[in-house]
Symmetry: C2
Subunit: 244 residues, 2 copies
Amino acid sequence: VALKFFRSPIQVSDKAGPDAFFDPVTRADKETESCIRRAIEDRWPTHGIIGEEHDNKPARSDYSWIIDPIDGTRAYISGNLGWGILLGLTEKQAPILGLMHQPYTREVFTGDNHRAWMTRDGQRQPLQVSGVRTLEDAILYTTTPDMFTDPILLRRYNQLGRQVKLQRFGGDCYAYCLLAMGFVDLVVESSLQSYDIVPLIPVIQGAGGVVTDIEGQCPMQGGTVIAAATPELHAAALVRMQSI
Amino acid sequence: VALKFFRSPIQVSDKAGPDAFFDPVTRADKETESCIRRAIEDRWPTHGIIGEEHDNKPARSDYSWIIDPIDGTRAYISGNLGWGILLGLTEKQAPILGLMHQPYTREVFTGDNHRAWMTRDGQRQPLQVSGVRTLEDAILYTTTPDMFTDPILLRRYNQLGRQVKLQRFGGDCYAYCLLAMGFVDLVVESSLQSYDIVPLIPVIQGAGGVVTDIEGQCPMQGGTVIAAATPELHAAALVRMQSI
């Protein structure tokens, strides 16, 4: 469903014309979420569902699903590949399973806090974070410094960016998957929603990584998020984002 | 060849270990360029060849090839997808044919200044830039603001970034292909080498776009590059990059 509207020709038509009201991202978002909701409701009618596009469905059991049908809509509208479909499962409010699906590259990244794996074209490979422990050796990703709307956090982020081996922008949810694969060592972002990060927690942790909010807690509410390959690297980044 | 070393497991192994001298990017760069050089030399022995990794071969005809075997090495080493193989052909120093190949997504973007097309999985589609004429409607890409090593250019770039509809980072050579596809409207970068941009000129122009250096000339030497969907948008961006 999400792929059907991706790089849709109408997207580049005259925005002021009669089709100006047609927003392929909104349609892709809504239809993808509806499709996932139906599949969950058919199979697990007592599970709760929290999505970006529709009203929350309260749980009548310990389980709730959290859906971001198109995470990275700015990548999506510009035809780029950092977007993905995020789906997470919580048990008594704790994330126990999560996945990111990039349908154009046909990659699915899945994790259950203990293990994580990527499947593509029927092949499955385990995911394992890198062993990088210091900022000096780390590759850092953030989608854009504009995420740091708090000027104090932006200043801390910029200082952090100058201490790493390589700072890269772009990425969106794909950056967390690159971290789980071991090619990126650190992702620091801000202004995240709950559904932007909760589905990725079991993937990151399953690959051996550490992910918290700026208080060092499990980032169930989103906000400022620090994801790292090792506890040492996480601690080094966290202290720099916490202190002035 | 380039794909063989992409996301290579050794890339994430202990960098201080006995394999520390093994650099998959350097090997991928060298071996990919050698492979392309052999194919050109077999077929067109009088053509010149300019590459990033080997000595230039002078032309004994009007034709020279320009090769960037792995453009976007920072995307490549971090496992991301903005990198590509760039190959251009010049006739009497003017670019007449160019392509970008992304082997992981299996996309090839080709242009001859008059037409441009993308091929994937045996399907071929024409490329056409958007009709966006104003900064207020434009999606702007640059790989990173760090490219603007001249502080005056960085200030102008930052001002430009505040005038567009959406500014995105990341992208590497893929951003120019998104421009040719019509999803991105403007790409402004700096510190480019000749081989970073010359192979992309016939693709951008073939899709109907405009690409120049900061003097408004064909960017044969790289440097600061402004690529836009329309002449109007190009002029608006160029004047802002030229004036203080």
